[in-house]
C-alpha cells in the first residue's frame, strides 16, 4: 500500500466514488451506468497529468532530521509507515504483528486564503492492523480526516489523525492506536542510522523522470510497549500485556502517477537475525512481467547499504492462499534469491489471513524467514505487502 497509485485509488474511492455521505451503502451505487462512469473517471484520473503546482522528486537531495520526520506539503503524497513483529515479553513464543500507517494526500497544490479553520487542501488517512498470531486473529481499521481543525496533521514532533498518533519522545517515537478490540501503545528506538533508499534517497517508480519519490527507512527499531485487549463484554478489563520486538519505518513522499501498465506490487521488509535488513519490491505489470524499476536495498549490520536492481534478485511464489471473504488469491510463500549476496530465503506468513478489508483491500502481514546466507543458516522476520491481486477496482463486499 505504499505506492502513490494506491493512495490515489483510496482517495478516488473516498472522495470521488462516493464515500461522501454514505455513497457506498446507498442502493444507487449498484446502478451500472453510474459504476461505468466512475470506473472511467478512475482510469482517467490515474493517467491524468498531476497538478503542475506540486514539487517533484527529480534529483537526490540532502535529508535533514528532525525536519524530514515532518511533512513535505509541497509534494502531493506522503506516508509514515510502521510495521513490526512483537513478542509477549514474558512468553516470547507468543508472536504478534502490527502495522500503523498514516498517509497524507494534498488535494491541490494551492488553495485561496480561507477564513475557516476547517478549510484545508490536506487529507490524512491511516490504517491500523494487528495480527494476533496465538489466536489466529486479524484486526484492521482505518481513519480518514481533513488535515485541519486539529483533527489530523503532521509536524516533525507529531503526526496524528484523530486519536491515532506518532509522537517524538526523548529516545525515539511513541506510537498509539486503538480500534474496537485493542489498544496498542509502543515506543520505538532506532538502532541504526536512516537508510536512504534508491539513489541516495531518490526512488524511481517508473522510467519517466519525476515519477519518483524521496524514500528513507529506519529498518531496525527496538520496540517495547503494551497491548490492551478491550473487554469484549462488560467483563473486567484485561491487564495490559508487555510486548517487545522490532519495527521498521518507511518514509516516502512524492508527486507521481501510476504507470498504466502497473497493476500492483510485492513489497518485502525483512530483518535478518544477523543484524542485516533486506528491502525488496517488485512492481508487477499487466502482462505478468516485473517492471524493471523494481529494486531493493541490503543494509549491513553497521548500516552501510547496497542498492539492488531488479536483475539482482528473484522472487518466486511457492504457495497461494485464497481469501474466503473477498475471493482474492494471494501468494502465501516465497523463495527469495539475491545471488550476488548469496542469500536464499524462504518467506512464510505467520498466518494466512492478514488481509485488510477496508476501503481498499490488500494483504499486509507479519512473516518469518528461513534460509541461508552462503553456507550459514539464517532466520529472521519481517513484513510483506501484496497489492493488485484482485480486480483493480474491486472492493470488498459489504
Amino acid at each position: 500500500m505504499r505506492y502513490q497509485g494506491a493512495v490515489l485509488k483510496i482517495l478516488l474511492r473516498t472522495l470521488g466514488v462516493g464515500l461522501l455521505l454514505c455513497g457506498a451503502c446507498s442502493p444507487r451505487t449498484s446502478d451500472p451506468s453510474v459504476d461505468a462512469q466512475q470506473g472511467q473517471s478512475v482510469a482517467e484520473a490515474m493517467s491524468a497529468p498531476a497538478d503542475q503546482g506540486f514539487a517533484r522528486a527529480l534529483a537526490p537531495r540532502a535529508f535533514v532530521f528532525p525536519q524530514d520526520d515532518g511533512p513535505h506539503l509541497d509534494f502531493q503524497t506522503e506516508w509514515w509507515y510502521y510495521t513490526g513483529n512483537l513478542q509477549d515479553a514474558q512468553n516470547p513464543q507468543q508472536n504478534y504483528g502490527y502495522q500503523l500507517t498514516i498517509f497524507r494526500r494534498a488535494l491541490q497544490s494551492d488553495m485561496p486564503e480561507r477564513t475557516s479553520d476547517w478549510a484545508s487542501r490536506q487529507v490524512y488517512f491511516a490504517h491500523f492492523a494487528f495480527s494476533d498470531i496465538p489466536r489466529q486473529r486479524f484486526f484492521a481499521s482505518q481513519r480518514l480526516s481533513r488535515g485541519a481543525a486539529g483533527l489530523a496533521g503532521a509536524s516533525p514532533q507529531r503526526v496524528w489523525i484523530e486519536d491515532w498518533q506518532i509522537q517524538r519522545t526523548a529516545e525515539g517515537f511513541r506510537l498509539q492506536a486503538e480500534d474496537d478490540a485493542l489498544r496498542l501503545d509502543l515506543t520505538v528506538q532506532s538502532q541504526k542510522p536512516e537508510v536512504l533508499q534508491g539513489q541516495q534517497g531518490l526512488s524511481p517508480k517508473s522510467s519517466q523522470p519525476g515519477n519518483a519519490s524521496y524514500y528513507y527507512s529506519r529498518t531496525r527499531l527496538d520496540t517495547r510497549g503494551t497491548l490492551t485487549w478491550k473487554s469484549e463484554s462488560n467483563a473486567a478489563p484485561t491487564l495490559p500485556l508487555a510486548l517487545t520486538g522490532l519495527s521498521w519505518l518507511d518514509r516516502e513522499w512524492s508527486t507521481s502517477a501510476l504507470a498504466p501498465e502497473q497493476v500492483g506490487w510485492d513489497w518485502f521488509s525483512l530483518q535478518l537475525d544477523d543484524q542485516r535488513e533486506l528491502m525488496l519490491y517488485q512492481l508487477r505489470r499487466q502482462d505478468g512481467t516485473v517492471d524493471p524499476v523494481s529494486s531493493g536495498t541490503l543494509i549491513a549490520a553497521d548500516g552501510r547499504t547496497t542498492p539492488l536492481q531488479a536483475t539482482d534478485f528473484r522472487i518466486v511464489p511457492l504457495e497461494y492462499w485464497t481469501s474466503p471473504q473477498t475471493g482474492i488469491r494471494y501468494p502465501s510463500q516465497w523463495r527469495l534469491k539475491v545471488p550476488a549476496q548469496q542469500l536464499d530465503l524462504t518467506v512464510t506468513p505467520r498466518q494466512a489471513d492478514q488481509e485488510l478489508r477496508l476501503d481498499f483491500t490488500y494483504w499486509e502481514g507479519a512473516v518469518t524467514l528461513k534460509g541461508q546466507a552462503g553456507k550459514q543458516p539464517l532466520t529472521g522476520q519481517g513484513y510483506v505487502e501484496l497489492t493488485g491481486y484482485g480486480d483493480r477496482t474491486q472492493r470488498a463486499p459489504r
Binding site: 472522495l15 446507498s26 444507487r28
Partner: protein
C-alpha cells in the same frame, strides 16, 4: 323503485337546484379540508426536511447560545475518541434564481458537513457533475463558495452541462455561490423535503454564514436505550453544551409556527361552520320544496317510513357525491392555501419548500364524512316532518310555516342557551385554545339560531312601510320563514366571519403599526446574518464622525433554558425606544427603568410573561419584585423583572437586558444588530452610501434598513401573512352567495303561481321583477345588519381570547366604520346579485307561462 324514479324525475326537472345542492355540499367540504390539508402538509414537509437534515443521528450536542465552539468537536473526537459524531454548520441564505434574476430571492437552508465524518449520518449520495468528477469533489473542499444542489434543482439550472453555474446572493455585494454538483437523497421522500437545501463543506458553510470557529451542532449516534452511554457522553460536555434528542430542536421550530397554524385553524373552523350551514341550508330546501310531492306519494300509499328512508337515502347519496367532489375541489384549493402558508412560514419561521399537498387520508375521510353527515342531519328533520304530516295538511300552504313560527320560541331559547354556554366557555379561566374555539362555536351558533326570530321581527317592521312592493316582499318572506331564515342565516354567518376576521386583522395591523412607531426610534438599523465583533460598532462610529451621532449595539439570540423554555434574549447597549416604548406593567417610571437594567434588572415581553404565567413561573397579576432564574453559560443567574413591554416581533417572547450584564453572564461580546442615529439635519438617503461603504469594509453580511423602510418591510410581511386569510374570506363569501342564490331560486320557482296571480292582478313584469329583488334586498339587508354585532363579537373573541392565548399578544380593537359599511353592502350586494336571475325570469314570464303557472296546482 317507483319512489326512486319519481325522485330522479324531480332532480332532472330541477337540474340547476340539484347542481346547486351538490356544489353547495362540495364547497362546504372543500373549505373544510383545504385548510386542514395545507396545515398538515406544511407541518409534514417541515418534519421531513428536519429529519433529512438530522439524518440518522439520535442525539445532538447543542449550546444554550446557539454557538458551539468547534474545538469541542475536535476534543470529543481526538481526546475522548468518540467516533459516531459529526459536526454540522447550518444556516439560512437568500439566493436569487440565476434563470430568473428579477424574481424575489429564495430562502435556502445551507447544510455544512464534514464529508469525512458523514458516512454514518445522512443518507445523501453526493456526486459532482463537472467533466472531471474528482476535481469537482476536491473543489468542494478547497474552493470557497462551492455548493451542491438538490438533484432536481441542479438539473433545472444545468449544473454539469454548463461549465459554471453561479447562484447570486440577495446582497449583491457578496460573491455568488458556485454550484459544482448535485446531491441525491436516497429516498424520494427526502428528495422532496430537501428541495431547498444546499449542501456544502463545513469550512465553506462557516465562511458563508460568518460562523468561523463555531458549529451549529454536533450530531451524535449513541446506542438506543443505553442510558449509561448517554450519561457517559454527557459527562464529556462542558457547561453550556448539552446533549438532546434531535426532535427537541424540531419541536422548538414547530412550536414557533404553531400560533400561526392556530390562527389558520380558527379560520378553517369558521369555514367549517359556514360550510355545514350551507349544506344544511341547501339540503333542507330541497326537502321542504318537495313537501307537496311527498304528500302525493303518501296519498298514493307510500308509508311515512318508506318516504323518510327514501329522502334520507337520496340526500345522503347526493351528500356523498358532493363531498367527494368537495374533496377534489378541496385539494385544488388546498394547493393554493398551501402556497400562502408556505410563504408565511418561510418569511417568519424556517425555510421549507412544500410543493406537494400531502393527501392525508384521515383528513380527506373526515371531510367526506362531515359533508355526508351534515347532509343527513340537515335532511332529518324536514324529511321527518314531510313524511309524517298528513297529506291534506301539506296542501294547506300555511301549515308548515305555522309550525315553524310556533317553533320560534324554542329555537330562540336554544339560541340563548347556546350563546350563554359559549360566553361561559370563553370566560372559563382555562388558558387552552380548545375551550376558546368551543366557546366561539357556541356563540356563533347561538347567534345563528337567533336569526329566525330577528328576521321575523325586522320583516314585520318592513311590512309596515308605505311601499306596496316592500310590504309584499316582507310578507312573502315572513310567510316563507322556513326558507328565508335559512338563507339569511347563511349569509349572516359568512358576512360576520368577514367582519370578524377583517376587524381582527385590521386591529392587529394597527397595533403592530403603532408599536413599530413606538419602538423604531433610530434612523437606521443594521442586522447581521451572523454575530460580529463588538469592535465593529466602535469602528463604524469612528469612521463616520460627520454622519453618525450615535451607534447603539445589540445582541439577539434564541436562548433555551431548561426550565423556562425557548425565548429570545435581547441585550442592548442603550434602549433606543426607551422614551416611547409601551408597557403592560412597569416597576418604575419610564426614566428609571434603564438604570434598573444597568443594575441587572430585565424587561420581558408580554408573550413571554403570558407563557410563563401559564406554566406557573410568573404571576402577571402581581408582577412586582418577581424574578427569573436563567441557566446562563456561566451558571444559574437570577434577574428581577422590572417591566413587561408590548412586543409583536416574536410569539416566543423576548427578555431584554443591558448588554454589559449579558456579556458578563453569557461570555459573548459579539453583536447582531446596530441602531444608528444620524447627525442632526442629515437625510437618511444622503447618509446611506457612506454607511454601506463602512459596513462593507467590515466584511459583514448584513441588511441595512432605514427607519421607514423597516416599518414598511415589517408591515409587508404582516400583510403577506394575512393574504391567506383574505383568500379564505372570499371563499366564505362565495359559499354564502351560493346559499342565497339557491334560496331565492327556490322561492322563485315555488311562487310561479303567485307571480302569475300578481301579474293578473295588475302588477307589471317590471314590478314583478322588482318584487323579487326587494325580497333579496330584505334578506341581504337584514343578514348584513345582524352580521354587524355577530361579526364584532367574533372579532372580540379572536382578539381578546384566541390571539391572546395563542400568541400572548394584547391587541387593541380598532374599528373602522368603513369595514362595517362594506360588510353590509357586501351582504345586500350578494343577495341582489343572487336575486337577479330569478327577477329576470319573472320579468320574462309571458302570458302562456302565466297560464301554465296558474294551472300548476
Amino acid at each position: 323503485m317507483i319512489l326512486m324514479r319519481t325522485s330522479w324525475h324531480y332532480y332532472r326537472q330541477h337540474r340547476l337546484q340539484t347542481l346547486l345542492l351538490i356544489f353547495g355540499i362540495a364547497l362546504g367540504v372543500a373549505l373544510m379540508i383545504s385548510v386542514d390539508l395545507a396545515n398538515h402538509s406544511a407541518r409534514r414537509a417541515f418534519q421531513l426536511s428536519a429529519e433529512g437534515l438530522t439524518g440518522k443521528a439520535n442525539y445532538q450536542v447543542v449550546s444554550s447560545n446557539d454557538q458551539l465552539p468547534e474545538s469541542l468537536y475536535t476534543q470529543l473526537r481526538v481526546v475522548h475518541r468518540q467516533r459516531q459524531i459529526a459536526p454540522v454548520v447550518e444556516g439560512r441564505l437568500r439566493l436569487k434564481d440565476p434563470l430568473n434574476p428579477e424574481a424575489p430571492a429564495q430562502q435556502w437552508t445551507l447544510l455544512g458537513v464534514d464529508p469525512f465524518a458523514e458516512a454514518p449520518f445522512r443518507d445523501l449520495l453526493l456526486s459532482a457533475d463537472s467533466a472531471n468528477q474528482t476535481l469537482a469533489d476536491v473543489s468542494l473542499l478547497t474552493t470557497p463558495g462551492t455548493v451542491l444542489l438538490p438533484a432536481a434543482e441542479a438539473e433545472r439550472l444545468g449544473v454539469g452541462r454548463s461549465p459554471e453555474v453561479l447562484l447570486p446572493r440577495l446582497n449583491a455585494q457578496e460573491p455568488p455561490l458556485r454550484a459544482i454538483g448535485r446531491f441525491a437523497p436516497a429516498s424520494d421522500l427526502n428528495a422532496e423535503a430537501l428541495r431547498r437545501v444546499l449542501l456544502t463543506d463545513i469550512a465553506t458553510a462557516q465562511e458563508l454564514l460568518h460562523q468561523e470557529g463555531h458549529l451549529s451542532r454536533i450530531d451524535v449516534l449513541l446506542p438506543e436505550g443505553d442510558a449509561e452511554a448517554v450519561a457517559r457522553f454527557s459527562a464529556l460536555l462542558p457547561a453550556g453544551a448539552q446533549l438532546q434528542r434531535p426532535s427537541a430542536r424540531t419541536e422548538t421550530l414547530l412550536q414557533m409556527s404553531r400560533a400561526f397554524e392556530i390562527n389558520l385553524s380558527a379560520l378553517s373552523l369558521l369555514a367549517l361552520l359556514v360550510g355545514v350551514f350551507l349544506i344544511y341550508n341547501t339540503v333542507a330546501f330541497s326537502v321542504v320544496q318537495r313537501r307537496q310531492h311527498f304528500a302525493i306519494l303518501r296519498s298514493l300509499g307510500a308509508t311515512p317510513g318508506q318516504l323518510q328512508g327514501q329522502i334520507l337515502g337520496e340526500v345522503t347519496a347526493l351528500g356523498l357525491l358532493g363531498a367527494v367532489l368537495g374533496v377534489g375541489l378541496g385539494i385544488v384549493l388546498g394547493q393554493q392555501v398551501l402556497k400562502g402558508v408556505t410563504q408565511v412560514i418561510n418569511d417568519m419561521y424556517y425555510a421549507v419548500e412544500v410543493r406537494q399537498l400531502q393527501l392525508a387520508w384521515p383528513l380527506l375521510f373526515k371531510g367526506v364524512m362531515a359533508g355526508a353527515a351534515a347532509a343527513f342531519a340537515a335532511a332529518w328533520l324536514p324529511a321527518r316532518e314531510a313524511s309524517r304530516t298528513p297529506p291534506v295538511q301539506v296542501f294547506q300552504r300555511t301549515h308548515l310555516e305555522d309550525r315553524v313560527r310556533a317553533l320560534l320560541p324554542q329555537v330562540s331559547g336554544a339560541a340563548l342557551l347556546l350563546f350563554a354556554v359559549g360566553v361561559g366557555l370563553l370566560q372559563w379561566p382555562s388558558t387552552g385554545l380548545v375551550t376558546a374555539f368551543a366557546g366561539l362555536a357556541g356563540v356563533v351558533l347561538g347567534a345563528a339560531l337567533l336569526v329566525p326570530l330577528s328576521l321575523w321581527g325586522l320583516l314585520g317592521a318592513i311590512a309596515r312601510s308605505p311601499g306596496l312592493l316592500w310590504r309584499l316582499a316582507a310578507r312573502n318572506l315572513q310567510r316563507a320563514l322556513s326558507r328565508s331564515a335559512l338563507a339569511t342565516t347563511a349569509l349572516m354567518l359568512s358576512v360576520s366571519v368577514i367582519i370578524g376576521v377583517s376587524v381582527m386583522v385590521g386591529s392587529f395591523r394597527q397595533s403592530v403599526d403603532l408599536w413599530l412607531a413606538q419602538i423604531l426610534a433610530a434612523d437606521f438599523y443594521v442586522r447581521t446574518e451572523r454575530p460580529m465583533a463588538a469592535a465593529a460598532a466602535a469602528r463604524l462610529q469612528g469612521a463616520l464622525p460627520e454622519v453618525l451621532a450615535a451607534v447603539h449595539s445589540s445582541r439577539e439570540l434564541r436562548f433555551k433554558d431548561p426550565q423556562l423554555g425557548v425565548f429570545n434574549v435581547l441585550a442592548v447597549s442603550h434602549d433606543t425606544a426607551g422614551q416611547t416604548r409601551q408597557y403592560l406593567w412597569q416597576a418604575a417610571p419610564r426614566e428609571q427603568l434603564w438604570p434598573q437594567l444597568e443594575a441587572g434588572g430585565v424587561l420581558i415581553s408580554e408573550p413571554l410573561a403570558r407563557r410563563l404565567q401559564r406554566t406557573g413561573q410568573f404571576n402577571l397579576d402581581a408582577p412586582a419584585g418577581q424574578t427569573l432564574t436563567l441557566q446562563t453559560p456561566t451558571g444559574a443567574q437570577t434577574f428581577v423583572v422590572q417591566g413587561i413591554f408590548y412586543d409583536y416581533s416574536s410569539e416566543l417572547g423576548t427578555l431584554m437586558l443591558q448588554r454589559d450584564i449579558y456579556v458578563k453572564y453569557w461570555q459573548d461580546p459579539r453583536l447582531t444588530g446596530l441602531a444608528l442615529n444620524l447627525q442632526a439635519g442629515l437625510a437618511a438617503e444622503t447618509a446611506r452610501p457612506a454607511i454601506e461603504a463602512a459596513l462593507n469594509r467590515e466584511g459583514l453580511s448584513y441588511t441595512l434598513q432605514a427607519n421607514g423602510e423597516l416599518r414598511r418591510a415589517a408591515l409587508a410581511v404582516f400583510d403577506r401573512t394575512f393574504a391567506v386569510t383574505d383568500a379564505l374570506r372570499v371563499l366564505t363569501l362565495m359559499v354564502a352567495f351560493l346559499g342565497v342564490l339557491s334560496t331565492i331560486l327556490a322561492l322563485h320557482l315555488e311562487r310561479r303561481r303567485e307571480n302569475a296571480l300578481l301579474r293578473i292582478l295588475g302588477l307589471t313584469p317590471a314590478q314583478n321583477a322588482r318584487l323579487g329583488l326587494y325580497e333579496a334586498a330584505c334578506m341581504g339587508g337584514i343578514a348584513g345588519l345582524l352580521a354587524l354585532p355577530v361579526g364584532l363579537l367574533m372579532s372580540w373573541v379572536l382578539i381578546a381570547v384566541i390571539n391572546l392565548r395563542a400568541f400572548g399578544w394584547s391587541l387593541t380593537l380598532f374599528l373602522q366604520p368603513t369595514v362595517l359599511l362594506e360588510a353590509w353592502a357586501l351582504a345586500v350586494g350578494s343577495a341582489l346579485l343572487a336575486g337577479l336571475w330569478p327577477a329576470w325570469q319573472s320579468w320574462r314570464q309571458r302570458s302562456q307561462a302565466l297560464a301554465g303557472g296558474l294551472r300548476q296546482t
